[in-house]
């Protein structure tokens, strides 16, 4: 099987979720990866470790920003170039917006939130997460070409591959595809991206106010974690919107989710139920979150968190 994997970079590095997507593709067949915009060729060659044999690089500067229509056109062009039967990408806010267009260009079936390798014993069947992590569906993809968007942290990263060859790939992108003007970009620098994070520390209304977020940030720093929050916390502007976890916010799937002063409303749980382990710290022993937790501490966040932070540091 010939596979094209669309990869994204962050601060010049291939994103972890893109390495997961390459690893997924490598389990299916020969992987050509595609990178768009200015990226260092040495970094791109490391896609080989995860199983790519080749990387097509469209070094068009106009693609440094994530523009939906030109990205879709470039991915479709690369899919033809690579003769790909399957196009794989990590699910992300950019990829989500792009792959629907790609699937239509290619007449390909599209399934998102994929959590398993396909079963090809009888057609092409993948398992996907549905109902915001509360269930799964087994889906038969019935077209020749397929596009898969893989749920983050659902795939083990392959590390034992070689180096990939990096080839310049030129796509002619019509000016009409660049009708959108980006007037400003605001981005948290240097932080661990929440949707990509292996460990997440989240705070809820129990923290009483934005001025108390230091204890969350300290713990996150010790754990190398991203910070998250509940919806009321972002609604009240204690924290930025992109940190809000749950049904209407970011869906995370880390190996460890630490919830502090969050009651565990079902809409919050919907965003965290794909976490491998959940730790809940709440002063109310009746908080519903404990039912979804692996480990729980009943206690006051303002006392427990500093102690936990010290104990973690001591253990490092």
């Amino acid at each position: 099987m010939s596979v094209l994997v669309f990869i994204e970079t962050e601060d010049g590095k291939i994103k972890k979720s893109s390495r997961e997507a390459i690893s997924y593709g490598a389990a299916l067949g020969d992987v050509t990866a595609l990178a768009l915009g200015t990226v260092n060729a040495d970094e791109l060659a490391t896609a080989g470790q995860n199983g790519a044999s080749k990387v097509l690089h469209v070094a068009d500067e106009r693609l440094n920003a994530g523009l939906i229509q030109p990205y879709a056109a470039a991915i479709a062009a690369a899919a033809s170039e690579a003769g790909a039967d399957v196009i794989v990408t990590a699910k992300s806010s950019l990829a989500d917006a792009v792959v629907g267009r790609v699937s239509m260009k290619l007449g390909a079936s599209l399934v998102s939130n994929v959590v398993s390798l396909p079963d090809t014993s009888n057609g092409f069947q993948v398992k996907r997460s549905i109902y915001t992590g509360k269930a799964f569906a087994n889906v038969n993809m019935t077209t020749d070409k397929k596009v898969l968007a893989i749920k983050k942290n659902a795939v083990e990263i392959k590390e034992d591959g070689g180096a990939a060859s990096v080839e310049a790939f030129s796509v002619s992108l019509d000016d009409s595809l660049f009708g959108t003007k980006i007037t400003s970009t605001e981005k948290a620098e240097g932080d661990v991206l929440l949707p990509e994070a292996d460990i997440v520390v989240s705070g809820g209304r129990g923290l009483k106010g934005p001025e108390n977020w230091g204890i969350i940030e300290d713990l996150a720093k010790t754990l190398g974690a991203a910070t998250g929050c509940s919806k009321p916390v972002s609604d009240m502007d204690w924290r930025p919107h992109h940190e809000h976890v749950g049904q209407t916010g970011v869906k995370v799937s880390p190996t460890l989710y630490v919830a502090v002063g969050i009651s565990g409303a079902i809409q919050h749980l919907a965003g965290v139920n794909s976490s491998k382990y959940i730790v809940v710290i709440n002063k109310d022993e009746e908080a519903p979150f404990f039912k979804a937790a692996d480990y729980g501490i009943v206690g006051d966040a303002f006392e427990v968190l500093p102690k936990l932070n010290e104990a973690l540091k001591a253990a490092q």
Partner: protein, 245 residues
């Protein structure tokens, strides 16, 4: 301004999810259905834009007759008319084709959707419809201002946000804080009864996928409680039992 808002008819966010018929069908028993929360944001913003600029809001759902109460609710919130494509929404390709067919007829200035449906969470239909119509598509959209034929959009990117300028028409997948959810008032509920809800048959039946079975995740084991005075026990468990740090 002529706005099309595409809404899903989905289980309430607190629903217990279960399946019947040998795990091949969603169990609707005891489940309350609502307008998808993201679609509700799209609708709320459409109502605000109409208040500012005048115009007409059409809501569209691809679904069977049990969607009608959900569609009436959208009419009560402020849509002027509704279209239901009378078919089970079997996959996103099928749904996108139906929406595009309606949109081609309607001459809409804006096509608003939710960032994603909360049943299938694809977040795919807006891009598909954009491609079918040859229009730009954006998602997730956190802010949307319209001035004449142009719009200012704020979209969420991972770890931040970005401001964009684009001309109408286009497709947007909306999320908060684009608008506050609106609750229908009595007048809205009364008038919704007489607003037109046109039921049309699907333009074609092509699909790209089929679900063979559903599964529920394995049940979670019991929680281990740790004394607040003994946090090092938690550190030990995370390190040696869960092996996550």
């Amino acid at each position: 301004m002529n706005i099309l808002v595409c809404i899903t008819h989905v289980p309430d966010t607190t629903s217990r999810i279960a399946f019947t018929n040998d795990n091949t069908e969603f169990d609707k028993n005891g489940v309350q259905f609502i307008i998808g929360p993201y679609d509700d944001y799209a609708l709320a913003r459409a109502v605000e834009l109409k208040e500012q600029n005048g115009g007409k809001i059409t809501v569209l759902n691809v679904g069977e007759a049990d969607s009608d109460p959900t569609i009436r609710k959208a009419l009560a919130i402020g849509a002027d008319e509704a279209i239901r494509v009378n078919a089970f929404p079997s996959d996103s390709f099928f749904v996108a084709n139906q929406i595009a067919a309606i949109a081609k007829e309607g001459g809409y200035d804006l096509i608003l959707m939710g960032r994603e449906s909360i049943d299938f969470n694809g977040g795919m239909v807006h891009g598909m419809v954009g491609e079918l119509l040859g229009l730009p598509s954006f998602s997730p959209v956190m802010q949307l201002q319209v001035e004449g034929g142009n719009a200012k959009i704020t979209r969420e990117i991972e770890g931040g946000k970005e401001k964009l300028e684009v001309s109408l028409p286009f497709v947007a997948g909306c999320q908060e804080p684009i608008a506050e959810w609106k609750i229908p008032n009595m007048r809205g509920i009364m008038s919704a009864r007489t607003k037109p809800l046109n039921v049309v048959e699907p333009s074609d039946n092509a699909t790209h996928s089929a679900i063979s079975a559903y599964e529920l995740p394995p049940a979670k084991g019991a929680v281990k409680m740790i004394d607040a005075d003994n946090v090092s026990e938690l550190v030990d468990l995370l390190k040696n039992e869960a092996k996550v740090i």
